[in-house]
Symmetry: D2
Subunit: 451 residues, 4 copies
């Protein structure tokens, strides 16, 4: 009988370390990282991947691994994969259309984690409120995830790769490094006060520490040369990368610009599910996994479809199509935030502040149902919630909303008249893995009674 399944082009063995995989992984963007596989347009192929930490974060019920996690090695990516059609490899200026035919956890490894990084080691969107390293383990039952650390909740995953991107050209890489270095060096001057106090890194500049470059042997001169200039994978950029678009699931199509011959795309950072914004930073349900993909080359597609926005022709962004198979919910509870911060200070049309406030409002609300605030922070990072910018023009307040599907809870969380006082409800506050915060920065009081 003929084999019909997708061809496995990048295999992963989760019992092995990232450096021991059959095909070498990489954790930087650079044009000179050689492809590990080649695929033809039209064929369906399978790429497997380790979780973003490459196993650095474990299934143990402890947050020690989170607190001391090595941020220099993220994210371990599978690839690069070179794409060809009858006219040869993709060329710079082409668009690479990648369809996600299927994806999921790796068989036998059906679990994931959501975590809050320690404020001194990466932090998160609300790091000033929640500075402690914390972790929740999730188990999968087919399409569903549940966690012993966040009881009373179960939801179907909208599984997606957090990262998919093409290799940058040298020219584009230089643009990235220049503008990010400029921010790192001059950022403090131009930043607003609230941001200066922020302990999170302003940018994530190239660093040889922890650098893994696929087939380039570590420590060689070539490795040295590349490592010193290769871009970190943390931010999304013109090549796609760490977009964290939670809807890029089965049936989606991603139009990526090709900057180098072959397009050389990589993927990784699988998420079983993610809330909009992935607010706790290590915030999706992180896991190992596989994707089954099909490629198409749109020759000359960059010029045809993308418009550069910036000094060079490289300032473009990918385009996406969302697939028809998503978990659908019919009832949503929506929290709002405006661009007034927790101290009562007015910001000018700042959607980030508004969204932060919406998330804090949701955390406060849900904590009334027996959860600790850290549990809710973890939950909102990874459950299928929707973050929307509602108003961005009505000075001085940006308005953002966070919509939560009510069906993920095993009780009705909507406000009710004629109810007994909330008081002592079911307490859903198990012994969640958690470390203390040993840093020096002041913790922002939530300014609410129960903080």
């Amino acid at each position: 009988m003929a084999q019909h399944g997708p061809r496995l082009v990048v295999p992963i063995d989760v019992t092995k370390k990232p450096r021991e995989q059959k095909l070498p992984l990489h954790n930087r963007w650079h044009p000179d990282i050689p492809p590990v596989a080649e695929v033809r347009v039209g064929e369906v192929f399978r790429v497997e991947m380790v979780d973003f930490s490459g196993g650095g974060i474990t299934q143990e019920y402890t947050a020690e691994d989170i607190k001391y996690s090595d941020q220099s090695v993220v994210h371990y990516l599978s690839g690069p994969i070179r794409v060809v059609d009858d006219d040869g490899p993709a060329k710079p200026g082409d668009l690479l259309a990648v369809e996600i035919c299927n994806l999921g956890p790796l068989p036998g490894d059906e679990w994931g984690f959501t975590a809050i990084f320690d404020r001194e080691n990466g932090g998160g969107f609300l790091t000033d409120h929640f500075p402690c390293a914390t972790k929740a383990i999730w188990y999968f039952e087919g399409i569903y995830a549940y966690s012993p650390h966040i009881p009373g909740v179960r939801f179907p995953g909208l599984t997606h790769p957090g990262i998919i991107g093409t290799a940058p050209s040298m020219e584009l890489l230089n643009v990235w490094n220049d503008r990010e270095r400029e921010l790192e060096e001059n950022g403090l001057k131009s930043l607003k006060l609230c941001e200066v106090l922020h302990s999170r890194p302003l940018a994530n500049l190239p660093s040889t520490k922890g650098c893994l470059l696929g087939k380039i042997p570590e420590g060689t001169r070539e490795w040295q040369k590349i490592a010193i200039e290769a871009a970190r994978t943390i931010p999304g950029r013109e090549n796609g990368g760490n977009c964290d678009i939670k809807n890029l699931s089965r049936g989606s199509k991603i139009y990526l610009p090709a900057f180098v011959e072959g397009a050389n795309f990589s993927t990784g950072d699988m998420h079983f599910s993610q809330g909009v914004g992935e607010v706790s930073f290590c915030g999706a349900i992180e896991m190992s996994g596989f994707v089954e993909l099909k490629c198409e080359i749109i020759r000359g597609g960059m010029k045809e479809y993308l418009t550069p926005m910036g000094p060079t022709s490289l300032h473009v962004n990918p385009i996406f199509e969302i697939g028809p198979v998503e978990p659908r919910f019919s009832e949503w509870l929506v929290f709002e935030g405006i661009s007034v911060d927790e101290s009562g200070r007015q910001h000018y049309l700042d959607a980030s502040v508004a969204y932060k406030r919406a998330v804090l409002n949701a955390i406060d609300y849900l904590s009334k149902f027996g959860y600790s605030k850290e549990q809710v922070y973890l939950l909102l990072s990874c459950c299928p919630c929707e973050g929307r910018i509602s108003g961005i023009v009505d000075a001085p307040n940006a308005v953002a909303t966070l919509a939560i599907p009510t069906a993920i809870f095993d009780e009705d969380i909507r406000p009710k008249a004629n109810k007994l006082p909330v008081g002592p409800r079911v307490v859903r506050n198990p012994d969640i893995p958690r470390c203390t915060y040993d840093g020096n920065l002041p913790i922002t009081k939530n300014l609410s009674a129960g903080s």
Copy 2:
């Protein structure tokens, strides 16, 4: 035969000016604006409303009315409406649940407009790119809207009131005025460079000019006293107000905090449809209309369900439930933006910059299908598109997306391989009403070929 329809508590005659309506309108928030009607919990009642400009913007195919529109009078609201149950009026500390049972345009007035304000007179999210006053007229065919100014597009409306809010207490009003004045006075110092150059108002502080206070006769001492401290209706705030949440349509429920006796809520600024962010500012399909509402009082609900976030117990935000009847689309084309601005400059996790870039990308893309960029800017302001914050933690780039339902176009707008060069397609560029920009501020080049 018994009358079964909702009781009409605020009637509007659109052939009359705002000051001539049977029940007086108001365009400020203040605790001392007397209610014009009283409703009981459980009863379904009908509120009619003028468009936000009170007829100041007309159906004429000209943008003169936009260019010189009087920003001091917006938004004309219907109300306040006092809410009572068997225990008397709502009390401060209660939650007022308002269900939207039905809504729509006023019979006989089935049209609307979407506009770009002149940069010197309000501007919009992309005012540096599109400084000219521009207008599109929309006509309604039942649930659908179409515009002679943006041909090839037709979509069902997700109709909603842009504004619904309760009267603030004096204490809350003072909080608003203090924090907004602080921004207005000290904002220039703390703002980033890009914002200082911005010509838009930093805040919209109280102003007696254009002030309308319902039953309080204009020019009286009482009017003077109130007008000088009454808050403008432009930003959304703790009382709800101008939230512009596009999903607050039929079947939605809004939980508003009550700050004064009776809750005294008002509504207005009807939108036939709005895109996420209402980016062109006058950006929804603005119209007159009606809502049919039903109220419930949740006694003590503020304490029970809301958590103040700020120095006083008043720093709360409303909560919403979204209804089950929305136009649903199954295919979306998604544009992405990162927090690098049009000049190539890197910003730190700025969701507003990222969303701006996503919108600009979408404008550039769709302009390849025969539209002018201003047409697309207007379209994205009012069509049922989704703006999402995708990544808010991956320093230095925030990632935002704008998803557009492909079904609203009469041609397939998705990228295609094997296509002829775009070149001269159908040109969809009619004589759209437009004024010149006479201001002094430099216009931001889009930095793209076809700008």
Copy 3:
């Protein structure tokens, strides 16, 4: 200011009787009923209509009007409406595309009814089980309906006209009368035993009794001639007619064959909501109402798109497109039936028997939640439930399903482990309007314990 609303082409005054309306109504299909209005393609126009009974069934809490309702007068239709474009009126052989732009109850008349006809006077799908005339009154709160007679339930309506159809040609009318007379006359011989016992009429042949023919004065010779051959409106046929397709709501498009010049279409029998099958016969939420329509003529469309199936070219059926605005539910409880009847007798791939059994199963199940079986029968007739044919080939059993959205109930109706015995729950069994059955036919025992 210009009038923008749809032109009102058929007005209704619900305080008047059907025969007193400004434009005369009709309750038969015949080519010689003259049009009462003319519309042009592209224009949006409004048609108002009485409820199917023309006010014969009232809002009183009694079922007397149901028991003795005059079946000879149903359904009162608005029209015929003649359709023209630049090339003149629609012609036989054209397709008439009718888009439903909007619809709803008539303002001030926001109520409806669902009923079970007495077995001697029309009956229903389950008339052998439920032979008594029964009635529930529904009130509307915008998009929602609730009934004091079926407490604990509230749902958004998927409002639609039960009837929309074009005038038949004389040739088509003859086809109808011939084949239905043949059934009436010879039906008993060919029918299965279970059907012979059935007291419902086999067909509804022409009858001058109660006949209303629009502009044709009653009692005239012309009226006599037409009345004797005009088809009843009860069954759906080649011209559309009483299709009772519950999804023909806002945004739907109906492609009707034109059999006479002008197409001469009529509409009526508005339903606020209907379950699949309208099982209790008077089973939707029946009401007066309005539709706003827009027409298009597809010249020669019958030949182009429809294929006659039968001895003449007239044996065609309409085509429909469903609109994008429907209440969506995410959770459904599904009941199954197979083609074994209540006595345990096996039928051969009979989908009607299977569906009957599925409905009976659902009634039995829901009656465990405090309802009487008649209440549930009424509810399933009118709530947004889905009836599907699941298997139609697996001899000897057809399988049919009935899916009920769980969100319409105010309690969780799903089966649960670890539950107390059902026993005495909340009894939701108010004094539902009901008459006794005085007929002679035996009532089918449900053969279940609690029947």
Copy 4:
């Protein structure tokens, strides 16, 4: 690292024949077929299964295997599986809740087939129109299926097991055999003329031919005894069985009555996708596959939730919950049928006739787009179309509809004004595998021009 995936309780090797599998399969229902595995409530386990024909129908591009397929062996099922909780095995009278956590094709075997059986060997819903054995092969690209035999179509699968059911008790088995034998013996007398001419089997009575009974060795006395009375798996019955409910996909829950100790449920007949009714009989996309399941026992649930309908307490039907993850389509083209057959003959409220007519209408319509009618018949059997009973009470016509999602086609299939005559379009009529019909029965002319 701990194993997290579901426990594999029934493994399948598709390179082996049904009789060679590690755990024996069965193709009959009988209480004495011993369980092959035991599972505990709450655990997630995996069941693999062969396709219904056990490999009898191949991937070859020929219909010979269809024409001569052995109907006596269908369907090969995996199981029985015995279910226990802390209180021991499920007991008669309990309800077994089975949740489908995940499912799909077997890795490496991602293909399927849809076929029309020869009229002399099983036939199908339209066997009088399409008597020839025909086959289409489908290949899977993740969630999508496409067929070289039906070009221009691609759709996401709503994958489900066609069969899931519990073992009957001896008493229930006797009920089945009695009533089906009664039909087989006396059916001809009571059937309508159209059905008598029908060549399809009236029932599928027990037959030792092809009988496979799991662990019971073939040919033994025990096997003889059981084989002679074991029920065929073709029809759905009280135990669930061959329900062919196309929505029983990921996240669905099935409440099956337990008739024997352990409940002993079996499953099989995987469908990548199926249209409502599975009209061509071998009509889904048939494949091998796996399901991941989780069970719960509702003690005493039959009495609590099900109501017997028939002479004994066993006449019950399962209940289902549909999951939240389905491919969703927003645009549907709907075909209607009434209970007038292809000869123009009127039937009395016969939903099967109405549905047949709707399907024939859809076939005729779609054949105008370059397809042969047999291609469309195959397509409508397996694509995600919806068959609904619209009217079941309006004598004499039942109305049924068939709704087809327009997005599955690569061209716009909706009726259009201003179109060129259909005439010679793209012909999508490849060399579809097909045999001749050698039987004696007359073929029903479609009575349409192009038949």
